[in-house]
């Protein structure tokens, strides 16, 4: 049985801003742009009381909460804080899988601190983050990644939740499906129309019955409904793709306008690709979000970044809009899989010192 901790910083960017600017502490605050099409990165808990959420358009947030203070993010600072947090994690285990700047899985199965109590380890990590950075984090402690991730959300902010192996069933049976990562509003609606709202309901179905509803996610969802998740904490996440996208202040109307944006997007993507020169490109593609927020992507196999190919893809993808104007354009490349990588990670485990 593994011991997995999921650590999640509480409204990370907003919390850093509140720490560094006392005048923001008692007001609804969001980090993001204020342009007419900007989207919020995150917001504090005061703002959430008004219904403001992460990834919400700034305009909508302002409607919900007219006195919402929106500040620009300071990525450099967030990055430094994130590195410090990762250093704290490294004191407990080398098996750390960062999911983003503010979130990570830790496998503490082999950690001997606190007599191996993952609950106390999580508490100590959160204490260290508070003492060294004056920031709060929440934690979920469970026998696998799936349960740990859901648990970290249970007692947010500044809390933790343990799902011990003997409590897994209790926890999972009543779990609303909407809380499962991968199930958004639409899927949960679909499942509800089938009478499935909790994991217990999913168990009553079969993978065969689930597949038409959730596609390839069916098998994993079925396992989740029993609290089963065998994914390892992966120290080196392998990046699968790199992309760049841009939301325009005013919609683009013609296909020529869209195609004219391609060189700029590709230039930006080339910069990002410099960090991944060791990877082989397998596919390239474009993404369009139309004025009505419908999304289309089109991709082709390609061993290199090919500007003309991208332009052709853009032209075809644009046709799918049937004359709709365009609010967002993106380009991306997907990398070829690394050979034998996962297998190797498990078979060549370099042991480390415990300092």
């Amino acid at each position: 049985m593994k011991k997995i901790i999921h650590i999640d910083m509480d409204c990370f960017y907003a919390q850093v801003e509140m720490r560094d600017n006392p005048e923001y502490r008692e007001i609804p605050l969001a980090v993001g742009g204020e342009g007419k099409r900007s989207v919020l990165s995150t917001c504090n808990y005061l703002a959430r009381k008004f219904g403001v959420r992460s990834a919400m358009p700034a305009i909508k947030a302002k409607q919900l909460c007219p006195h919402l203070k929106i500040v620009h993010g300071r990525m450099q600072v967030y990055h430094e804080v994130s590195m410090h947090i990762r250093e704290i994690f490294s004191r407990y285990t080398q098996l750390v899988e960062p999911l983003s700047l503010d979130e990570a899985f830790l496998d503490v199965t082999d950690c001997c601190l606190f007599n191996g109590s993952a609950t106390l380890i999580a508490q100590d990590i959160r204490n260290a983050i508070w003492h060294e950075l004056q920031l709060t984090a929440s934690a979920g402690i469970a026998p696998n990644k799936f349960l740990a991730k859901i648990a970290s959300d249970e007692n947010k902010p500044n809390g933790q939740c343990v799902v011990s192996p003997d409590k897994v069933n209790e926890f999972i049976e009543v779990l609303p499906l909407r809380k499962i990562p991968g199930i958004g509003p639409k899927t949960s609606e679909k499942l509800a129309s089938f009478g499935a709202t909790t994991c217990a309901d999913i168990r009553a179905l079969s993978i065969k019955e689930l597949t038409p509803l959730v596609g390839s996610f069916a098998e994993r969802l079925f396992n989740y409904s029993f609290g089963v998740d065998n994914r390892e904490v992966k120290v080196n996440r392998v990046r699968k793709s790199v992309g760049v996208e841009h939301t325009f202040a005013d919609d683009l109307v013609t296909v020529e306008e869209c195609i004219a944006q391609i060189p700029k997007l590709i230039d930006k993507m080339k910069q990002r690709l410099q960090k991944h020169q060791d990877r082989v490109i397998a596919k390239q593609g474009v993404k369009i979000k139309f004025a009505d927020f419908t999304l289309t992507t089109m991709e082709q196999q390609s061993l290199a970044l090919d500007e003309d190919g991208m332009k052709n893809l853009m032209e075809s993808a644009f046709q799918r809009g049937n004359g709709k104007t365009v609010r967002l354009l993106g380009v991306f490349v997907a990398f070829a899989e690394l050979p034998n990588d996962q297998e190797g990670d498990e078979r060549h485990q370099q042991l480390g010192f415990v300092f």
Binding site: M83, Q350, F353
Partner: protein, 367 residues
Amino acid sequence: MKFSLSRESLLKPLLLVSGAVERKSTLPILSNILFDVVDQTLTLTATDLELEMVASTPVNNQGENGKVTIPAKKLLDICKSLPEDSLLSFESNAEAITISTGRSKYSLSTLAATDFPNIEEWKGDVEFKIQKSDLLRLIESTHFSMANQDVRYYLNGMSIETEGNEIRSVATDGHRLAICKISNPELALPARQVIVPRKGILEIIRLLDPVEEEVQLFMGSNHIRIIDSEYSFTSKLVDGRFPDYRRVLPRNGDKVLETDKDQLRQVLSRASILSNEKFKGVRLNFASSELKITANNPEQEQAEEVLEISYPYEDLEIGFNVSYVLDVLNAIKESAVKFTLADANSSVVIEGSETSEAIYVVMPMRL
């Protein structure tokens, strides 16, 4: 400013200080070298805000005393490619400096010396003299075990420790650890420990020659400085707590193997050809009269080597990253090496058979 000097008397200090010049800086002035002319002496300073290098050379000063900063790389490239023994004349005006010799004339744009960053004033509280060859040996024996860009930022450097008549260097990346101790009965040093950043250590190696000449070493709470007759080198320290190496030294080793270093090194480097390129794992099978070394790669190709040894213990199979072991064998100067082993999950201690000036600890790999 107006002064002249020979190409050679400029090139030497220029090469010395240019190691500290930041190549990819967002602050343009860090790509420049500060030229400070006072009477008949030119002092050159370069810094990347973490390291600072200062060197001086005599000049024939034909104008006022003054300071200016000059693009380092271009100046160095020009100096290098001018003919030997050229006499270089420098003359500065508002925003440029002209270097002329014979029929050659180069004008480089300058930035104001007032904007050049100074490392803040500090006082060393530990100060001692050490032979260049000793300092170099101390650092070269362990530097390869330093971490590189680890989140445990305090491992991205070398711990230098003083105590009584002993100076220690310790480096570890979390998988392997190296310690070197040198002592000098003339020293009486306070117990101090500092972490010198990786870039500083690599720069010190570049600066030192293995000769019997002394340099002066200063350690403060945030800086370390080395002063030589030709230059002064300063590095900021890493602010952090270095792990205690004593906690990592294994105590359970009860199987000792002594063997010829070069032979073992040859065998390991041959076998490594067919190890997994990324993980570099090799398997060592110790038996009473032979050591079998095997490696294989994802293409299922296999290497096998056998060495005759004397190993009067229970058989042991243990895996290692072969690069870690080869780094150690390359660093040990003696011709025979000693391995002290416990079991497949415990670290091995490797050291020279004769002295134990340097000790290496390597954690195994599960294969």
